[in-house]
């Protein structure tokens, strides 16, 4: 299996742990990732409010490069916003004659053209549908031993396009977590919005969503995410009283996979997670949740009675 890899800007910046753990986990599963040469920003959620055409031209540039340089490969985008922006080009530009012509006219300025032949895939889609849960289970060295994890899907991987999971009741990440030996907790916050870039423009508003999500995650050993913006919003303000004073590690699904595959903490960059403190790291290292009997003096258990 081989994919054209689109890391996206965040994964080169504040979310390097996502990039590094995706590459490590994919390598462990025998999947080859080839970076799209010369890729640039997809516009995130900032292009749409500024320019209708840029909103399509920026992601289309990357698909055009993949089409030209890595023909036949699907694009794999771990970041939710990147995934949606790239997918949007296939859904809204390809098949719309006028718009497609305009986008290609813009791309023509740098000698590019997008015909519309590249499949766009989210990492969760690839894990569940291309790789499958059995090969993931076979790769496990040190399973998560009943770690209580809340699966946080966020918005843009399932909405508005219902591609690989039910946006109302998503299960794909829960299934991967179960395969890793974790215990996904039932909650109704998995597809709630974390505030996205509203956390920068109007933090007092976004904080309500963050507080509600973190509150509902009480009793979890960790929250698993597949989006750098969700991860940042959920962990960066845990010190802020407006976020409700809930402390829980917010980990990338691929970091948890790496740990279950026997990779050491440094190779999944656990030290980059701001929500990780000493006791949480110790808990992860010793799989503290394996010993569920009461009275063992385990810190993770003592936290939530």
């Amino acid at each position: 299996m081989k994919y054209a890899y689109y890391p996206g800007c965040s994964l080169q910046e504040s979310a390097r742990e996502f990039d590094v753990s995706v590459r490590a986990v994919m390598a462990a599963l025998g999947v080859e990732l080839v970076d799209i040469p010369d890729w640039t920003c997809c516009g995130a959620s900032a292009a749409e409010p500024v320019s209708a055409l840029m909103n399509y031209a920026l992601p289309a540039r990357n698909l055009a490069l993949a089409e030209q340089e890595l023909p036949g490969l699907d694009v794999l985008a771990p970041c939710s916003a990147c995934y949606l922006n790239l997918l949007k080009v296939n859904r809204e530009v390809v098949g719309n004659k006028d718009l497609h012509a305009r986008v290609n006219e813009a791309l023509g300025a740098s000698g590019l053209n997008y015909r519309g032949t590249v499949g766009v895939r989210h990492i969760l889609d690839v894990l569940v549908n291309d790789i499958g849960l059995d090969p993931i289970k076979e790769r496990i060295v040190n399973d998560l031993g009943g770690m209580r994890v809340s699966a946080y899907y966020g918005c843009q991987i399932l909405r508005p396009y219902e591609v690989f999971d039910d946006p109302r009741h998503p299960v794909s990440m829960d299934n991967v977590l179960s395969a890793l030996g974790a215990k996904p907790l039932p909650w109704d916050m998995g597809n709630k919005c974390c505030g996205a870039s509203l956390m920068v423009t109007h933090p007092e508003v976004a904080m309500h969503s963050v507080a509600a999500i973190l509150g509902a995650a009480d009793g979890s050993d960790a929250v698993a995410t597949v989006c750098p913006l969700c991860q940042m919003n959920l962990e960066a303000y845990q010190h802020d009283s407006a976020a409700g004073g809930h402390h829980v590690p917010i980990l990338y699904l691929t970091q948890l996979m790496g740990l279950a595959f026997g990779l050491e903490e440094p190779s999944v960059l656990l030290d980059k997670n701001m929500s990780m403190d000493g006791s949480m790291r110790a808990g992860i290292r010793s799989r503290a949740w394996r010993h569920e009997a009461p009275g063992e003096g385990d810190e993770t258990l003592a936290r939530e009675t």
């Binding site: 965040s10 910046e13 749409e48 409010p49 055409l53 918005c155 996205a196 920068v200 933090p203 508003v205």
Partner: protein
Amino acid sequence: MNQTQAHAWSPDAVTREILEELRGEIGACMQCGTCTASCPNGFAMDITPRQMWRMVQFGMLDRILESKTFWMCSSCYMCTLRCPRGLKLTRAMGALKRLARQRGTWKIRKNSAFYDAFMENVEKYGRVQETSLMPGYFLKSRDPLLPLHYLPLGVRMMRAGKLHPPSSAQKGRLKELFAKVREMEEES
């Protein structure tokens, strides 16, 4: 002083075009209120999404531009998922942001400062460089207290090794594309 109202009587061509496009998209709204009920940020909006679509149908440009409703949209697509008429509501919220930005008053420029700073960063570096994005945003917002708000976070990010000096690997890579799009959007 409300600057928006003063301009609202002679919409320029671009404003009219965005408004027309919006009216086309929102025409089928039956005012059921599902979008309002679905919105996680509705509590912070001064006009509910349902009311906003009514105003779009009636072309009430001045009232629309006074509102902060669309700036509170976090693009979560919940309304788009649930609208029984299948209307592209998140996209419409984006178009409303563009509409307001087109008519830019000071209040509006403050609201769009982050998006503008982001796009400038992309134009310059090709890939977003977070360490230079935030100072760019602070400058555009013209709010001297804003950097203070982000200081504790900046310190924690620095400690976790999350901040990196801007990379120039893709610098200037998007210059032609930005120039071309600007030219195309000006003449349309």
